[in-house]
Structure formats: C-alpha cells, structure tokens
C-alpha cells in the first residue's frame, strides 16, 4: 500500500543520554514507548498476582486465605491496575512506538509532554498501592467506586481519588499527543485514508479518551467533596442521588471499554493481512465501523445499570442502542475473516494470537449482546456471567492483541527474532488455560453465583476449582512470555528489516532496530 522513498537516518545526532537519566528525561518516542510497555508489564504482573489471590480464595468454598475486606480490595485494585495500569499504558506504549514510524514522522508532536504523560504514571500507581498501608486499607468498593460504599473507605480515600486524577491527566496528555501527531505530522502523501488502521483506531480512541477522562475526573471529584466538603451530590437527603454517580461514571466507563478494544482492532487489522499475504478486506468500512462504534459508545452507558430502577423508556433506549453495537463490530469480524479467505496463510505466533483474538473476542461479544437484553440482564447482572463476558473481551481481547503486537513488532524494535517455538508454546498453554479459567464462569453466573464475593455455596465448588486451576496455569504461562521478551531484547537471531514476508507499511522500510530518530527527513508516500 505504501512505500517510502528515502531516507534512513543519517542525521548525526547526539544519541541518547546515558544511564538512568536517559530514561527519566527522554523525549524520544521509542524510549517512551519502551517505558510504557515495561510499566504495563509490571502492572500486569502485580494486577495478575492479585487475581491469583482472588482465584486462590475461590479455589474452594469456605474462607481460607484472606479476610473479606481484603478480598474486596484485591478485586478492586486488580481491576484498576489491569485497566489503567496495564492495558491503557500498553496501548499508549504501542502508539508511541508505532504511530511516528507508521506515518513517517520524526517523533511524536509534543515530545516533552510525552515524557510527562508517562512519568506521572509510576507516581499515580504508587499512590494507589500505598493505600494498602494506610488505616482502613486499600479501596474495596469495586473498581466502579459506587457511593455510598466507596465513601466508607478509610484514610486511603483521597489518595485513591488523586491517583485516578493523575492517571487521567496522563491519558489526556497522551491522547492529545496522538491526535496532534496523526493530524499534523503525517509524511507527504500519507492521506488519512492511507493510514494503517492502527493509527485510525488510535486516533478515534484518543477522541474517546479526551471526551471521557475529564468526566471521570469530575465524578471522582464529586466523591471527594461529598466525603470531605459536605456536598450532597450522591446523598438523597440533600436532594442528590447515588445513582447519579453511576450515570456519570458509566458515561466514562462504557467508552472506556472501547478505549480498551479499539487499538486492539487496529493491531489485528495489521497482523491478519500480513500473515494471509493479502490486503485487508474492506479498509474503508473498517474505518467507518470504528467511528460508528465510538459514536454509539456514548449512548449506551446505562446498560450497566439496568437494575437500578430507571424509567422503562430509558431501559428500552439503552437496550436498543447497545444492541446496535453488534452491527459495526460484526463488520469488523466479517472483514477479518474475508481477509483470511483465499489468502496464503502461515501461523507464526502473532497470527496465532490474532486468530485467538478473533474467536474469543467474538465469544465475549456474544455474551455482551446477551447482557444487552435488559430483561435477561436482570438475571445476569452482577453475576459471574458478567465476569466471564468482560474477561473474554479484555483478556482474550485486549491482552491477546497486546501479546500479538509484541510478537509482531518486537523483531522490528530490537532487531532480534523472538523464540518462535517458545512463542507457540506460550500461545497454546495460554489459550487452553484461559478458556478453563473463564468459560466455566459463564456457567457459574447462570447458576446464580454473584460476583465480588469471597465465599460461595457448595454447588459452585466444581466450576470454581476448574476456573482457579485454569487461572494458575494461565498466570504461570505469562512467565514464558516475559522470558521470551527478555531473551529477545538481550539477543537472538537477527531480524531482517521487513521481518515478515507479507508485511506492509512504512515501519518495515526502516532498519531493524530502527534508528533512534525515525524519519528526520519525511519519506514520500506514493
């Protein structure tokens, strides 16, 4: 689709500063991308370790390991770390690495702010985790922070709120950078409709972020003043309404879940054509579908609140709007399958993860559609059926796409080929165990097991044990991933510039690893 004429870097610039200061002060999109990815991996491991505590307590009925309050804070912080600490930063890291290389730009548009967006994060998450050591313990009201429960938190409460503010500021700045880079920094000839889909999906994700993170900031600010300044936003006695928080939260929260999946769509749309050796089917309809999903995501939020007692017209509206999202998402799935159709496919690790993504994300999408049916959601809501739904879209969706992207671009980034055999083993163990982990949760939810409980009745015992065993295996298999990445960064078979036979796009015209500054002279895209 695109070819670059010219110019690899021969601009003899001062390379990076040396040592730790290089990473702390860097304004280079690749360094910052690396920092984001590393940070995300650490958060994934900490958040995953918390999930292991959850699964260990749920291994069998009866209370064995942690007390209920701590269990609730494991659930809460697990979710906050995975969403705000692992998946979002991982996508931002990928954006940093890839967007300038894919559109032929020298760097991100606002490099110093780029550094700022990253370096707030370690501070934000330190604040969040520090609440565990405060009187009253960590946040335990669920990642959704519903008042009045969330207001019962102890001394950690303001730290939690400010941690969210800081993470939000980081995302907003990161998104501004992405938008401005894409709109202002494309190489000559790189029209919007020639851009790789990863850039497109990120552009739209960035809009979603800028539109919703400030709303979350507003919502948690109201929590803060309700607790400390005597306001009555969420207190009926003062004329407020606890449910109002839920509306504001989900106005952010629903677009947020698409923030967690749109960049994944972009990644899959890059990988599938490469390994099918065939151009992406329906490029422009992919773009329009992404935009439609983003638009719809703003008018479906109350599907998380079918049981709060909304007026019935509201329930109907949100039900219909939610169901509509299946249409553009379906377009995407069908386009990927059509891309594979009559291709000449090989199944290296990135492709395996991409195929796994398509199947298991779709399963998660199906359960999402079931949840969208309001009267049925009266049964599903707040059960493990919901937990199963969102882990299918988040773990086998978002996380799988990030794994796929790592395997796909790692040889480009490091110049070394990862260990293909180990990659395949990682894929197969993960895929088998993740289904052991999350598929039975559908059954548990349907059979009546509520979510966010540390102990349960004996009839749920068998499936919970299966799920926990699957969880331990899945968790352990991520060590293979970390090891593989580590090994590749350290060395390994040299990768070619193009890396993949079917790869297409500007980033593959650069050397592997690419020079410190990618396109100091803009390439001309034909």
């Amino acid at each position: 689709m695109t070819t670059a004429t010219a110019t690899h870097d021969d601009h003899h610039d001062h390379g990076p500063a040396k040592g730790l200061m290089r990473w702390i002060t860097t304004t280079n999109h690749k360094d910052i991308g690396t920092l984001y990815l590393l940070f995300a991996l650490i958060m994934f491991f900490i958040g995953g370790a918390m999930a292991m505590v959850i699964r260990a307590e749920l291994f069998q009925p009866g209370m064995q390991i942690v007390d209920p309050q701590f269990f609730n804070s494991m659930t809460t912080v697990h979710a906050l770390l995975m969403i705000f600490g692992a998946v979002m930063p991982a996508f931002t890291g990928l954006a940093n690495w890839l967007i300038p290389m894919q559109i032929g730009a020298p760097d991100m548009a606002l490099p110093r702010m780029n550094n700022f967006s990253f370096w707030i994060l370690p501070f934000a998450f330190t604040l969040l985790l520090s609440t565990f050591f405060m009187s009253g313990g960590g946040p335990a009201g669920g990642w959704t922070l519903y008042p009045p429960l969330s207001l019962q938190m102890g001394d950690g409460f303001p730290f939690l709120i400010f941690a969210i503010h800081l993470a939000g500021i980081s995302s907003i700045m990161g998104s501004i950078n992405v938008i401005v880079t894409i709109l202002n920094m494309r190489a000559p000839g790189m029209t919007l409709m020639k851009m790789p889909l990863f850039c497109w999906t990120w552009l739209i994700t960035a809009y979603l972020l800028i539109a919703t993170m400030p709303v979350l900031a507003g919502a948690v600010t109201m929590l803060l003043t309700d607790k400390f300044a005597g306001t009555s936003f969420f207190n009926a006695a003062g004329g407020g309404d606890p449910v109002m928080f839920q509306h504001i939260f989900w106005f952010f929260g629903h677009p947020e879940v698409y923030i967690l999946i749109l960049p994944a769509f972009g990644i899959i749309s890059a990988i599938v054509p490469t390994f099918a050796r065939k151009p992406l089917f329906g490029y422009s309809s992919m773009v329009y579908a992404t935009a439609s999903i983003a638009f719809l995501s703003f008018i479906v939020w109350a599907h998380h609140m079918f049981t709060v007692g909304m007026p019935v017209t509201g329930e109907l509206f949100f039900m219909y709007a939610t169901m509509m999202i299946a249409v553009p998402t379906g377009v995407k799935v069908f386009n990927w399958v059509s891309t594979m159709w009559k291709g000449s496919m090989t199944f290296e690790t990135p492709m395996l993860f991409a195929v796994g993504f398509i199947m298991m994300f779709t399963i998660g999408g199906f359960s999402g559609l079931m949840l969208a049916i309001a009267p049925a959601d009266f049964q599903y809501h707040d059960t493990y059926f919901v937990v199963a739904h969102f882990h299918y879209v988040l773990v086998t969706g978002a996380i799988y796409s990030i794994m796929a992207a790592t395997y796909y671009w790692l040889p480009k980034w490091t110049g070394n080929m990862y260990d293909e055999r180990l990659g395949k083993i990682h894929f197969w163990i993960s895929t088998i165990s993740v289904n052991l982990l999350f598929f039975p949760q559908h059954f548990l939810g349907l059979a009546g097991m509520p979510r966010r409980i540390p102990d349960y009745s004996v009839q749920f015992a068998d499936w919970n044990m299966v799920s926990s065993i699957g969880g331990f295996i899945f968790g352990a298999s991520q060590l293979l991933f970390a090891y593989n990445v580590y090994k590749t960064v350290k060395g390994g078979k040299k990768a070619t510039d193009k890396v993949w036979e079917g790869a297409d796009g500007l980033e593959w015209t650069l050397s592997s690893p690419p020079p410190y500054h990618s396109f100091t002279e803009a390439p001309v895209v034909k």
Binding site: Q69, G136, P148, F347, T362
Partner: protein
C-alpha cells in the same frame, strides 16, 4: 483432595459435552424458576443463546475452513481482492434483522416485568449492611416486620480460621451453605406481590434467581418490582450488589406457602409480635436480658464489632472497654444505637429492633468482655425513642 480434582475433571468433561444428561443442567444454565416472569426470561435467554451459537458456527466455520484450506503450506496462493460493497451491505443488513427480531420479544417481556399495577399485597424490603429488613406494608399480614440475616451457624463457619473446607461444609450444611437465614420472608403463592426496595446505608440488590429478576435497593429512593409465585417452596437468593465487607454473606430466603398456610403464618406472627410488645412493659430479669442480648448481638452487631467486642479499629470501634459501654449512664449508648451515627456504617437500630431486643443487646454489651455498665430495661428504650 484427589476426589475433588476427579470431580472437577468430571465436571469439566461433562461441561465440554455441554448439556449432556450427565451434568446437572442447573449447574450449566440459567434456572427456569417458578414465576411466569422467570419463564419468559429463561426463554429469552435460550433464544439469544442459540442465535449466538448459530452465528458463531457460521463465522467460525468459515474462518476455520479458510485456515485449513488457504494456508501457504497447502500451496495456497493469495488472491488479491479486498473490497466488495455488496458483501458489506449484506453483512450489515442481516445482523440488523436478527437484532430486531430479538428486540421484539425482549421489549414485551420488559414491559410486563415493569408493570407493578394491581398488586395483592406489598412488602417493603430494606437492605442494610449486612442483612435485610422486611415490612409487610399492605395486604394480608400488613404490619409484620422483621430482620433477616445469615443463619448463625453459617456465620461462624464462614469466618477466616474456622478451618472449613468443602468436604466439611457439605457434611455440615448439605447444599445450603451460606444460603440460610434466621428469618425467611414468607409469601403466599398465586398472589401478585409488589416489592418496594430501598436501603439504609449503601446500595444492595435483592435477587432471587427463581423469581426471574433482581433490583437494586438504593438509599434514599424506593424501587419497585413484583412477583407471583406458582408453587410453594423455598427459594434462595443473595444480595447482588457489592455492599462492603460482608456482601457475600447476605442471603435471601423466600418461603412460598399456599394461601391457607400463609394465613396461619400471619396469625402466628401477629401473636408473637403482640407478646413481644407486651413484654416490653414488664421489668426483665438480668439473666433473661443477657441471654436474649447475646443472640441479638450475634446476629446484628458482631459483624462489625466482632463477637468479642473488640471491633476492627479504626473502621469499627471496640465496644469492650469503651467508656460508652461503662458507667451508670447508658443514655449515650442508647442514643447511638437508636439513631446510629449518620455518615458511618453505624446504622440506626431504632426502627429495626424492638425495645426488648435493643435493651437486651445493650445490656449484653454493657456487661460482657469486662465491661461494667449498668443494665438497661426495655422501658428505658421506649422512653428514649
């Protein structure tokens, strides 16, 4: 342990052969329940499930076929087509048609579920950390009111350090571990019962799967829902909205009785309530108060202040050794318990417990764990209200 794993493997294999007669269907799928609503919801669920399964088979079928046939190792040469407006239109229209055909029955069911008119009786349900309060507001049994919390044996077995594992729990409680309460809510069959749901502290959610719905109980607001149970039986459920530490230990038990049995139950209840009210006027012996107080304390207070009165500072203050539980003037303690401490987890127990129960609990607190406060008589509570 071995047998558990074996059972797990069995469950898994049966699960994989989903729906096979080996597995208890209840453990894999939504319950059919015992009301017309729950039946409709179940049918709706099955319909969407099958639609998704069929779409899944078509989409994954095509994909797997391509993966098997169109691979490089099989000598496949890549075609270069990458667009077809016709196809795009087809696979936009077909899902829309499918979705519309799902939306129609869903709308019908929803409208029926939200229609609370013409109820035969009304029960107000209040969620509290971590128990339920039931007030029979109108219809047969109006005036009955009681609290319902996790049955005490379960409450002890579920503590960390109780040394319970699955085998012991099965042996001790059979299938009902964490699913029994001290006072179940009793309702007649065949009557349309309107539920008013609210909460006193944080949001809870009242859910009995066999009735086919759950609804949130929100502090300061009242939600409505209804049910009509076809056949007598015991139907169990749980609080479904995270409500703090003991959210997992807030079960619901609905006992549906035939109208005649229900009438008898109402008789018995009103009799008991009258006796209780009468006993509030008499002077209680200290031992009786203490014995009753221990019971009341265990079910209502121990969740926070702990069985030994030590609390979990700083979240929940200790009552043992607390000045408020000692000395000759119990008024501070009486008003705290009657009115609660707004803005904290300490709820107002005045509207929830009777004079006798409150006097008993307070007396128990004031004379246990080394406390040496004066005893309190029901009459003092009545006066302090």
């Amino acid at each position: 342990m071995k047998s558990r794993i074996a059972r797990g493997v069995l469950a898994l294999t049966t699960g994989l052969l989903a729906g096979s007669a080996l597995a208890e269907w209840d453990l894999l799928n939504m319950r059919k329940g015992v009301t017309s609503t729950s039946h409709e919801v179940h049918d709706l669920h099955m319909m969407i499930l099958w639609v998704c399964v069929v779409i899944g088979i078509v989409v994954f079928g095509a994909m797997i076929y391509a993966m098997l046939k169109h691979r490089k190792s099989k000598g496949a040469v890549a075609a270069q087509f990458h667009e077809s407006t016709t196809m795009e239109i087809i696979w936009t229209i077909i899902p829309i048609v499918i979705l519309v055909s799902m939306a129609i029955p869903a709308t019908k069911t929803l409208l029926a579920m939200e229609d609370v008119s013409d109820a035969d009786m009304t029960i107000k349900v209040t969620g509290l950390q971590w128990k339920w309060k039931y007030d029979y507001v109108d219809g047969e049994g109006a005036g009955i009111s009681f609290l319902s919390s996790l049955a005490p044996e379960h409450n002890e077995a579920r503590l960390l350090g109780a040394g319970m594992d699955e085998a012991k729990l099965r042996e001790k409680f059979g299938q009902t571990y964490l699913r029994d309460v001290d006072n179940p809510v009793v309702v007649p069959t065949g009557k349309k019962i309107r539920f008013l749901l609210t909460a006193a502290d944080v949001i809870h959610s009242w859910w009995v799967p066999d009735l086919g719905w759950k609804k949130d109980a929100i502090p300061g607001f009242v939600n409505e829902s209804w049910t009509r149970i076809d056949k007598p039986g015991v139907y169990r459920g749980k609080c479904a909205e995270l409500c703090g530490k003991d959210h997992g230990f807030m079960p619901i038990v609905v006992v549906a009785k035939s109208p005649a049995d229900y009438a008898a139950w109402v008789q018995a209840q009103t009799g008991a309530a009258a006796a209780e009210a009468a006993s509030a006027d008499k002077i209680w012996a200290a031992d009786d108060l203490l014995a009753k107080g221990e019971q009341v304390y265990k079910t209502n207070c121990a969740a926070c202040h702990q069985l030994t009165g030590t609390g979990v500072p700083p979240a929940f203050p200790a009552l043992a050794g607390n000045p408020i539980s000692n000395g000759d003037d119990p008024m501070g303690q009486i008003t705290t318990v009657l009115n609660g401490r707004p803005g904290t987890a300490m709820a107002a127990y005045g509207p929830m417990l009777s004079d006798v129960e409150l006097a008993a609990a307070i007396t128990y607190v004031r004379s246990s764990w080394g406390n040496s406060g004066s005893a309190v008589q029901p009459a003092e509570i009545k006066a302090a209200r």
